[in-house]
Structures are given as structure tokens and as C-alpha cells.
């Protein structure tokens, strides 16, 4: 249990580091802003209490806000997907529930499950974030295009990072 907490705190720090020190500085065209830190919320253990889910999502979002100068926008999007996560997990659960000790990752539940689960969460996160940032409907389709392109890139980065972690585990 304690091990799990430390593991997630480390994950938090690493993802914030990658997001604000690396990805923020890479310019991939003006429509593409991937937000890989969402992986933190996606990858929290199944047994995480619901209240902790919301608070850790808020902590993650507000930390990113500090660096992006967006005061609450990332926090709002994070808390939103954290709220939807338990319902989504129930919707996608295998016939006899999740096995104890497993985690929401590719190596435990396979690619199709992970792609649909994380894809939906990432898309919802980006929709909330980008529309709050623009805050008008006159640029609806431009914003929508940004949401789609950025979501695809985030998903790609998330999947790649999953394979990196997976390989590390096999070596242990």
C-alpha cells in the first residue's frame, strides 16, 4: 500500500517534469499541444478511493496550471475526467471484474481495452481544456480540430510510454 503511494508520487513528479520541461518546449505545429500528464490520472490503481482520485487530479491540474499560466483550466479538465473515471472503468470492466493487484495498463488488460479507455478520457480532457481556454463558440471548428489532433498525439505518447515502462518491468 505504502509502496503504491510512493510509486504514484514518483509518477506524478516524472510526468510533471516531462510535461513542463520537455513537451512544453517542443513546438509541433500550432495545432498540436499534447498533454501527457493525463497518464497520471489514467494510470492510478483501481483501488484508489474516489475522493483521493478527485484530490490527486486537482493537485496534478493545478501544478500544470502553475507552469502554463492558465489558473484552474487544467485543474478543471483533470477533475472532470477523474469524476468520470470510475463510471468508465465499470463500463469497460471484464466479465468478472478487475483482478486484485492489476493496474490499468496495456500489459494487464491488453491494447484494445487500454486504447478505448484512455482514448475516451484523453478526448474528454482535451475537449474541456481547449473549450475553456477559447471560451467562445465562434471558433468552434478550429478548436475542434485542435482537440482531435492533440488528443491523437497525447494518446500516441501515452501508448509509447506504456511500452517503455513495460520493458523496464520485464527486466526486473
Amino acid at each position: 500500500m505504502l509502496n503504491e503511494i510512493i510509486r504514484n508520487i514518483v509518477r506524478f513528479a516524472i510526468l510533471v517534469g516531462i510535461q513542463v520541461l520537455v513537451i512544453k518546449n517542443i513546438e509541433m505545429g500550432r495545432f498540436i499541444n499534447p498533454f501527457i500528464y493525463v497518464l497520471f490520472i489514467i494510470g492510478l490503481p483501481f483501488e484508489t478511493p474516489k475522493w483521493l482520485l478527485l484530490f490527486s487530479a486537482f493537485a496534478m491540474g493545478i501544478t500544470i496550471d502553475l507552469f502554463y499560466d492558465t489558473a484552474g483550466m487544467h485543474a478543471a479538465a483533470c477533475v472532470f475526467i477523474a469524476y468520470l473515471r470510475p463510471g468508465l472503468l465499470k463500463l469497460f470492466s471484464p466479465r468478472d471484474g478487475y483482478e486484485f493487484g492489476t493496474q490499468p495498463t496495456i500489459q494487464y488488460l491488453g491494447i484494445p481495452w487500454f486504447l478505448s479507455y484512455s482514448g475516451i478520457l484523453i478526448l474528454l480532457h482535451h475537449i474541456v481544456l481547449f473549450y475553456i481556454e477559447v471560451f467562445r463558440f465562434s471558433e468552434f471548428f478550429t478548436t475542434f480540430f485542435r482537440v482531435i489532433v492533440s488528443s491523437v498525439f497525447t494518446l500516441l505518447l501515452v501508448v509509447i510510454s506504456q511500452y517503455l515502462f513495460h520493458r523496464k518491468k520485464a527486466q526486473e
Binding site: 512544453k24 513546438e27 478527485l54 484530490f55 496550471d65 502553475l66 489558473a71 484552474g72
Partner: protein
């Protein structure tokens, strides 16, 4: 009452979600509509210091280009140094002259954080209230307009870039002085839009756009960009001009913060006239 508590307890997840979301929205709204120094921005100590270290490392990669730019600017300044410059604290430059009264003073500053690919872009600079920076001061570079100071902390300040939906700069066409507001439509970091130019003005591609004299913040005749294209929308009596910005927002590393030394005097006078009406 007990029923209510049981109800809330049963659905605590939803209510907790709702209250955190309301907190977030409060933060967003407060940051947007009141130009207060809110806590959650990149001029606070923790994130500003991390970003500064990151910018320090990055700076080495641009040293060559930056040196060339500075050398060019030095040469330009030297060629018109008819007046004597006196160096004071905080890199502020004042000019002593008996025929002219100085209106603007300049403080040089380094960019420690910058963005161009969002709808509302901000910069962070490494000068703050200790160096005499205040809200709403203008920020420029040798190549043109950058933006306007938004929040100030002790050692840092954030700048609302020209590339922001809330920025409007009063600008004019240099050759005949017709003026209008310049805004950014969020399309590309290299272009902005100038509105309300009357149709009798003979525009050509390449005309220079500069800041107008009607701004309390920006000095007059600071370069903004050049005319790229213009159109008259049906039913309107004005041109909408697509302006190619002269500032390269992707390459900003050193900027100047401009203090209007007569701003207070002008503001007070204008307020007094307003009240008389």
C-alpha cells in the same frame, strides 16, 4: 436535516466533484476578469525558478544569434548617439537634454518563459516590482511590439503577449496616419488583424503598421508589422487588414520594458475632464 446529510454523504463523490470544479471555475474567472496578481501563475516563486533554470540552459543555444542582434543594435545606437546616456540602477537609461523632456525610459529584461501555440499566450520576464515594474507597462523588442505587463511579483512579471485574445493595440498606418485597433485571431503567430481602416486609404502590400499616439502604454511609432493583404467585407465600410508581425515571437529572449513617465499626469488630466462632463 438528517436526511439531507445522509443524502450528501451517499453522493459525496458528486458533491466533492462539484465543489472542486466550482473552485477551478472561480480561479479561471478571477484570473480573467480582474487583472489581479493571482497566486496561480508562473510568476510565483516555485515555478518561476524552475522555468528560469530551464531558460538559462536554453539560452546557450541562442547565444550566437542573440550576439549578432545585440551587435547590430549597438551599431545602430552608436550611429545616433548625439546625446549622452547616463547609466543608473536596474539597467534603466535616462537621457539628459535641455531641449527635450524624456517621456519614456527602458528597462532591459530576459524572457524566462514563452508560448506561441495557444489561444491566449503569456510570457514571463525576470524583472519585477523590485526593479520598478508595474502593471500595464509596455514590452517591446528591437524588432517590434511584444505585449503588456499583466501580473508582477517581487522578481518576475508576466506579460500578456500580442498573441492573446484579450490584447488590443491602437495602431496606425505609417504613411497616412489612419488608425484602428489591432487584435490577434488565433490563427498563426506570424499574423495579426487590423480593423476599421477607412476604404479611401490607398493600401498596398508592404505598408508599415506602427503603434499610434493614442495609447497610454506604448510609445508612438513602434513597429508592429507590414500589410500582407486586406479585404472589405460585404456590407462594411472599412478594410480588415492582415498584418505580418515584425516580432518573431518564437525567438524572443531579451526584451525592453517601457515606462511612460508622464502616464500618471495624462491619466489624471483625462479623468478630470471626464468628470466635468
Amino acid at each position: 436535516m438528517r436526511n439531507l446529510i445522509t443524502f450528501i454523504w451517499k453522493h459525496y463523490f458528486f458533491f466533492l466533484f462539484l465543489s472542486i470544479e466550482v473552485l477551478c471555475i472561480y480561479l479561471i474567472v478571477q484570473n480573467n476578469y480582474f487583472q489581479k496578481a493571482s497566486f496561480v501563475n508562473s510568476s510565483n516563486l516555485l515555478s518561476a525558478n524552475i522555468l528560469k533554470t530551464s531558460a538559462d540552459v536554453e539560452e546557450y543555444f541562442f547565444l550566437k544569434g542573440e550576439n549578432e542582434k545585440l551587435a547590430k543594435e549597438n551599431a545602430e545606437l552608436r550611429s545616433r548617439s548625439l546625446v549622452s546616456f547616463s547609466l543608473l540602477e536596474n539597467n534603466q537609461y535616462f537621457v539628459n537634454d535641455t531641449a527635450f523632456r524624456q517621456k519614456y525610459s527602458y528597462i532591459s529584461s530576459k524572457v524566462v518563459n514563452n508560448s506561441t501555440n495557444r489561444r491566449n499566450n503569456y510570457l514571463t520576464l525576470d524583472k519585477g516590482s523590485k526593479q520598478g515594474i508595474k502593471n500595464n507597462m509596455a514590452v517591446i523588442t528591437s524588432t517590434g511590439v511584444v505585449g503588456q505587463i499583466k501580473d508582477v511579483s517581487e522578481n518576475f512579471c508576466t506579460v500578456m503577449s500580442l498573441l492573446n485574445s484579450k490584447t488590443t493595440i491602437s495602431s496606425k498606418i505609417k504613411k497616412d496616419g489612419s488608425y484602428g485597433p489591432l487584435t490577434w485571431e488565433g490563427e498563426s503567430f506570424a499574423f495579426a488583424t487590423l480593423h476599421d481602416i477607412p476604404t479611401h486609404v490607398k493600401l498596398t502590400k508592404g505598408d508599415t503598421i506602427v503603434t499610434s499616439a493614442y495609447s497610454l502604454t506604448f510609445p508612438e511609432n513602434i513597429l508592429i508589422g507590414t500589410v500582407e493583404s486586406f479585404e472589405r467585407k460585404s456590407g462594411e465600410y472599412f478594410y480588415t487588414v492582415n498584418v505580418k508581425l515584425s516580432t518573431e515571437f518564437k525567438k524572443l529572449s531579451h526584451v525592453y520594458i517601457v515606462t511612460n513617465m508622464m502616464k500618471k499626469e495624462q491619466e489624471e488630466l483625462e479623468n478630470r475632464s471626464e468628470m466635468d462632463k
